[in-house]
Symmetry: C2
Subunit: 635 residues, 2 copies
């Protein structure tokens, strides 16, 4: 009923924005100081709406699924590699490729490029070692093409280049981690010296991974388990715009669901398998289309559209959550990341996008990030971050183990022995077999990640056949990560629920569901003094029932007071007047329809409490209390 | 009963700390990266305990008193004066005093001090203007004494010096605001240019004041009202220590109660007037003692120990809150700030101090900060931050208004006319009368804040008698500010509730009240598979009753499982065994006494739900269910 009225009214964004500011849902922060882009303060209705959304999120995810809630720090020390050194990805790639080109020129007997200006020197500071190694002509051309457009590469693209061209930290030869968009982080420094750089977390995820071992012990070393965290994160956006959709400080709610990579089924998938979603898969997008397919999540997992049950389970749960708090399901879709936008390590990734006046906006990301995060933290710190499975039947198998003749190798290769050892230790079984085959033919060449080649002969490397018996399987858990931008959801929700009355465009309404509405019940006494004791009594009884109410005892007309609270999204109102004094009755008004019912005060309280708790809806309330058509009908 | 056992056991801090870390109440953040002082991550029990404390705080303060909840930004742009410039208080004081000494030397015909080293130059950069003004010898001595020990002054002391010696910003002559401990703030910069310095808020208070006008409108322009905010704040402590008691990132809960300075009564003071507090007033401390006086807050306000009803009301409410969540009232006192430690603008200030193994620690501050904060923000921005009272009877009075003869003044004083105008405009009535009297005698001298003197004669300044009629009283509200350090409270609570069983010191217990305990009920099935359906059923029924439970279905003995959860502070446990299958019964165990009761499953659920909701206590539970003395008695 209310829905019909709402859809009939054209969306008026300037009216929405004026109302959000004037009712202090939120407002630009530091406005009296001239304001600053991308920072917003939430006032009483906005803060309450956000708190209610968080509360519902906590119930829907944390309590329902017995997740481990964390509260980790926002301030983050820079600790970006084994040495704690931070490299700028563009400088690193530029420096290394230039050094290789210089080495190529040297090998070709040409003069190296002159190191001309200061900016260039700066870029090259990570690449002092030039080795005379000749490159293929095609490789030279490729390097030059990359250098010419280095500024155009995004972080993930630079990471891709590091992997493709085996670019490591030239000072340590250590592999570099995936580039972080460090320039989007707020930098600071920790402690009085200024020597410990820090930054503000751009998401809460790191706090989960860093504490994996503690949590794994907390759950008695059983998988799967999930951690959850709700908290502030920061991104130093270059030019924030679009209100709450792109801000510099925001509240996120993130889940990390840790799971055995060999078993991504979900115990409660059965409960959600019939939930229908609008899916925009990667194939449709790659064909240039945006047509969603409506599909049950059960079918989507069964036919391979969604990678696995756990990922599918969370997509369905995200859908249910968003719809429960009032997002219009017709304006909600799940868009799969295409190959070129997904991180290289991710198995599958979907965004819940909500349509609003700015288009379709990503509000929740849900990715199967495989073992990436735990592996990276483990590699950086040397701390094992693995799970164990006690095998009922031990696995027994045979394996060739390479044995290096270190004495001879040391004599031949000097300090490169170490590099050779590392290369050989990191070979997987297939490569061990390949190497063994080559050596059987007389000789084999191995290559370090930096391109150094070593020729080995059978006297330097032998193989020993060993029987391995494993009774415990050790593995790095995979992680499914649903990540919610609460401010974006809140803004879309305000857009989806906003409309004006046909009778008067100035009379705006937010049809927020009671579960998230900032105030559930408005108490409106006819005049200020005479009804004070009834107001107090009603207010107390509602509070005891867990219903958040507020009193508007201003001198304005009852109609005007209701109108003001329609614009705050308050779903129910009760009027206390002379009939309350004389007959002990109270009227109950519904925000969207303006229907009014009447009944004994305690009965009205009972009905409104059930309405707020969601155990009955308005249609059922209509059967519980008679309609009121008295003189104070106000719409 | 449990209380007796607890007190009998000596407090063992190393055991407490070991348990806090091993159970992951909290742990040093970034530990796998080597950790960083003053940053802690809260794990599942710590995060839940904190969430429950916050939840209770929200009920006790925000909901109970209908406060306006805000959620404002952590990132704060630097906007520290009219020009947005930030001055370092020690540099400012040093620079100005040195410039004055140099001017004195110049006036005395001596050579100015040589500006010797770079460090000195840096300190002096704010004081380039040297004016040849001779100083009294005693003043010279005083300035030199101050300069000699400049590094020893605290922020408030530097502020005091600025006021005493009328030190203003030398570039603008603008008055400087009270020094902020800026070196304790985490600095950053906002946006891509690096030109907009920012810092992380050291408390949440600024967000309240900045939004005063919006909130005043939100409450329909009525006083008193209060705002509240719970959120993260940051202080870049130089050497954080003492665990959660001094950290660099922490959660605060702050209230700003805005009140008419002429009426600091509180409508609900009557409700708390009999609450007895241990008060350590300033007179006792100034006499060198620490003896608390036990006094009802009604008496304390009546006899002037506590400045006013509103401040007293909050002291009592703070006491009630802390005791409700489990702080030992015998280890809680309220200490008044002494004259020399209280900010100059504050009317009265008390700290709730909680005794713990580090001594008495300030955990809540409660100050009447008068009109200071709103005045400062209003002065800095030019935005009026006032409230209005419609007077029933307009106030009519007569007043002498000074009239400057600008034409003649301009000729005599040139561009100093402006300064003279400002001085005269800012005179209060008493000073206007004084000036009028002096001029009647022939001449008068007025002094600018920087010490410039102007001699006025009756032709330059006359007075006009005016009748003023005020029907609206405009005033700057005063603010009472209760400010809670939640991490400190949480830590003290863990200390106060920690003990070990007499039978075995390894069996540690946190006797956390059910209202804040991380988990309320532990469900312990005898063996893993057979009882699954009963476990699910009990768990679901508890959740429906709003009771947070967890299941421990590990293979360890029931006694060991209970012991593990005593160390997590779980107040109740229910055991599901063969009797549950055969007779439909379940046992109920209380954490502190290890008492066990038995009853039909639904009855046990009903009793434990009431226990958790606080509607009955354990003594009453003993009358509702029979004791269980079966073979599985576990203590």
């Amino acid at each position: 009923m209310a829905q019909v009225k709402r859809d009939a009214f054209p969306f008026d964004k300037s009216r929405l924005e004026a109302n959000l500011i004037s009712k202090f849902f939120y407002a630009p922060a530091f406005e009296i100081y001239g304001g600053i882009a991308g920072l917003y303060d939430y006032g009483p209705p906005g803060a309450a709406l956000q708190a209610n959304i968080i509360n519902e999120w906590r119930k829907h995810f944390i309590i329902e699924e017995m997740m481990l809630e964390l509260d980790t720090t926002i301030m983050t020390p820079c600790a970006d590699s084994k040495t704690g050194e931070v490299l700028r990805a563009d400088h690193l790639v530029g420096g290394v490729l230039e050094a290789r080109l210089a080495g190529d020129k040297e090998a070709r007997g040409q003069e190296a490029l002159p190191k001309d200006d200061a900016a260039d020197k700066k870029k090259k500071k990570k690449a002092t070692k030039t080795k005379a190694v000749k490159l293929e002509d095609s490789v030279v051309a490729e390097y030059e093409r990359i250098l010419a457009q280095l500024d155009n590469y995004s972080g993930p693209e630079l990471g891709e280049l590091c992997r493709k061209y085996k670019i490591t930290n030239p000072d340590t030869d250590n592999e570099v981690s995936e580039p972080q968009e460090f320039n989007l982080m707020f930098a600071s420094s920790i402690g009085p010296t200024g020597k410990n750089p820090g930054y503000l977390r751009p998401e809460t995820a790191q706090g989960h991974f860093m504490n994996f071992n503690r949590m794994y012990n907390y759950v008695n070393r059983k998988l799967p388990f999930a951690s959850a965290q709700i908290g502030r994160s920061f991104r130093n956006e270059i030019s924030p715009r679009a209100g709450l959709l792109r801000v510099r400080e925001f509240t996120m709610a993130e889940i990390e669901h840790f799971v055995d990579p060999l078993d991504k089924r979900h115990a409660r998938f059965e409960d959600v398998k019939d939930v229908e979603l609008d899916l925009l898969d990667r194939h449709v997008q790659e064909a240039g289309a945006t047509t969603v397919k409506r599909m049950s999540i059960g079918d989507a997992v069964a036919n391979g559209t969604v990678a696995n049950e756990t990922l599918g389970y969370f997509l369905a749960r995200i859908h249910l959550f968003l719809v429960k708090i009032g997002i219009n399901p017709k304006r909600l879709r799940f868009r799969q990341h295409m190959g070129n936008e997904m991180a290289h390590y991710a198995t599958d990734c979907w965004d819940a996008e909500i349509e609003n006046s700015n288009g379709w906006t990503e509000c929740v990301g849900c990715a199967d990030r495989a073992a990436y995060d735990l592996s990276v933290h483990s590699k950086k710190t040397g701390a094992p971050m693995t799970a164990f499975e006690q095998l009922e039947t031990p696995i027994v198998y045979e394996k060739d183990e390479p044995i290096l003749n270190k004495k001879v190798l040391g004599k031949t290769f000097g300090k490169d022995l170490r590099t050779i050892q590392t290369i050989v230790e990191e070979l997987d079984d297939a490569n061990v077999q390949k190497l063994k085959g080559e050596l059987a033919q007389g000789a084999a060449t191995i290559v370090s990640p930096t391109g150094q080649e070593f020729k080995l002969t059978p006297d330097l490397l032998t193989f020993e056949r060993k029987t391995i018996k494993e009774s415990v399987r050790e593995f790095t858990p995979n992680v499914i990560e649903p990540s919610f931008g609460l401010g974006r959801i809140l803004y879309c929700l305000l857009e989806h629920t906003f409309w004006s009355r046909e009778s008067d465009a100035e009379r705006v309404v937010f049809s927020l569901p009671p579960v998230v509405a900032p105030t559930k019940v408005l108490i409106v006494p006819l005049s200020t003094k005479k009804f004070d004791h009834i107001v107090r009594d009603v207010s107390l009884k509602l509070r005891k029932g867990g219903v958040h109410s507020s009193v508007d005892d201003s001198s304005q007309s009852i109609g005007r007071r209701y109108a003001r609270n329609d614009a705050l999204g308050t779903p129910y109102g009760v009027t206390i007047d002379f009939a309350s004094l004389q007959k002990g009755t109270m009227t109950l008004r519904e925000r969207d329809t303006c229907d009014q019912l009447i009944g004994p005060i305690d009965e009205v309280i009972a009905v409104v409490t059930e309405l707020v708790q969601g155990t009955i809806d308005w249609d059922e309330a209509l059967t519980r209390l008679p309609r009121y058509d008295g003189v104070q009908a106000i719409d």
